[in-house]
Subunit: 340 residues, 2 copies
DNA sequence: CTGAAAGCGCTTACAG
DNA sequence: CTGAAAGCGCTTACAG
């Protein structure tokens, strides 16, 4: 309440201050403040009043250190400027709030090296979080697994093959299939599939493989383009294939779809007149106005499952079994893809 | 490294384990691990090797409690599903990373009551963060100020009039002015301004007031609509005004602009043939394809200034002066607004 | 260059 | 119903 001098941080009020002000021991103050254990109602009242008056805020670090446990779940997040991750983040928070789970988040840039990823992981583990939700593909199972016996780890959004990591993930293959079936149904016989390489984006890669499978099985001629991480990567190549006869470009993400539409417009190609285009994600605001043909990924369901599963893992008493939950989104037919 | 039984968390290795394994005291282990103070190079090597081998992760809570300080800055964030906040979040993280500042984030839903907002604040203060960056309008200066003498507090994105809170904010009034001047230049004489009410969105309110001022000063007839928080709120009213003669609808956000375009399309009104529309934010992916007339808010500059300022505040030795930095974005003329 | 000791703020059995 | 005591894992002067 004093010490407003700059440079000298104000003295924080501790539980000892509160206890003294209320004329009790620290032990009693602790109990009354938490509302656990035995204490006289009027004693509690006095303690609560003192805490309020002094502006007491419990030191979480000390409390958790002493109690030997943490009520916080760590969340590793990828760059939230991508709306798909932004929304996932938002939903995870929302779910956690509703279930009374405290979440502490650290993010890692998409471009960061393994060392930084591990660093972020250590920061969370250093806080002795009770569980870990990983919502970034940037960190591998190998980096995660050593800690799987210390704390439950769940990957959100992406499949995971490693033994001890739980998941709540998108059905990327199913998504690729649904989109490809739509294109087949529209009668396209020569199609470009434009996706990030496995290194650039594993989910995109999975979608692309599934698309290829469905298209090929339907007798469609497929040109696969394995591109870099940036949306504009591979776009020129895709348009070249269009000029060579392809009637549709299937993109593994809406960002790529936008890039293709931009380039098509610049090149004087009409969508869907000259070329049909599809994407995947379906969460861009304004996607409807653009008429994007896409697939809405089930962000809400994945977020809910992730938090629910984590909560179960935290309260599990029996031996823990591996949880793997997959969620399929819904096709959004738009005006960017038409029958040939 | 044992205790893989479910239910029984593995024993975490402590610095005592590392010290014992290396045959030194905990004090020496601490120094060598941090690389501070004096120690024999070969001793350090032994300690580092032991830590590595045992899988030691320093307990941050204990370390900071003992050291009496924190290296972490708290970030209070609003729902990141809004791209404007998602991008701000992303940039803040990026900047913090680059400057070696650790950020720990808690979010609060847009709809949450004051109690929850304060709760989130307490969670951060309970972690004894070294500083606080507030990137949500949901928490008031009055709630923040009591803590301003314990820790530097900076509001990012939004102006702040309270005495002890620093800011790095958008020039909302300037943004409103720039957009209004554009509409005036296009020759519109009857205009609707559609914005959230002060309670729904204070920044939108500021933009709207500035628009009104510029429009009125130019002799334009203005209809002000003070709407709810949802993008579709007030849209019907706006279209009614258009039917009554208004030639332009100025929205205080891109979300509202999209809602107006959607409704206009449904009502058979052409944009910009029958009505010009403007927004504000300019960060929607695909905004260019839609031809949105908007204003790109300077997210990057605000984020950089916020982190930079916070870092200065943390290392300041002299008496701290109030920092208030404002940033103006750039007009993005699109195809949704045309001359009458 | 290294270690013994005290202490950070809080909680938890255990006695009363 | 309440308090004294020990301890959570680590760091920091202070002696050696």
């Amino acid at each position: 309440m004093s010490g407003a001098d700059a440079g000298t941080p104000a003295l924080r009020v501790t539980i000892s201050d509160v206890a003294a002000a209320a004329g009790v021991s620290r032990a009693t103050a602790t109990r009354a403040l938490k509302g656990e254990g035995r204490f006289a109602p009027e004693t509690q009242e006095r303690i609560l009043e003192a805490a309020e008056r002094l502006g007491y805020v419990r030191n979480t670090m000390a409390a958790e250190l002493a109690a030997g446990r943490t009520g916080t779940v760590g969340l590793m997040l990828r760059d939230a400027s991508n709306p798909a991750y932004g929304l996932l983040f938002s939903r995870l928070q929302e779910e956690a709030h509703q279930r009374g789970l405290d979440l502490v988040t650290v993010t890692i840039g998409a471009d960061e090296q393994g060392a930084k990823q591990v660093n972020a992981l250590h920061r969370l583990l250093g806080m002795r979080v009770a569980g870990l939700i990983v919502a970034t593909g940037g960190i591998s199972a190998a980096q995660l697994e050593p800690f799987a016996d210390q704390v439950p780890i769940l990957r959100a959004g992406r499949v995971e093959s490693a033994g001890r990591i739980h998941t709540a993930h998108y059905d990327d293959e199913g998504h690729g299939r649904l989109l490809a079936e739509h294109i087949v149904a529209l009668g396209h016989r020569t199609v470009v599939v434009l996706a990030g390489s496995p290194e650039a984006s594993y989910p995109e890669h999975l979608r692309a493989l599934a698309m290829q499978e469905v298209l090929t099985a339907a007798g469609v001629a497929v040109t696969m383009i394995s591109a870099g991480a940036r949306p504009e990567d591979g776009v020129d190549e895709a348009l070249a294939a269009v000029r060579a006869g392809a009637t549709a470009v299937m993109c593994a993400s809406d960002y790529r779809q936008l890039a293709v539409m931009r380039a098509a417009r610049a090149a004087g190609l009409r969508v869907p007149g000259d070329v049909s285009v599809t994407g995947c994600d379906g969460i861009l605001p304004g996607a409807d106005l653009l008429g994007l043909t896409t697939l809405r990924i089930p962000v809400e369901a994945v977020a809910a499952a992730a938090v629910e599963t984590m909560q179960q893992l935290l309260t599990a008493d029996g031996p823990e079994t591996l949880v793997r939950r997959s969620f399929t989104g819904t096709l959004v037919p738009g005006s960017t893809a038409a029958a040939v």
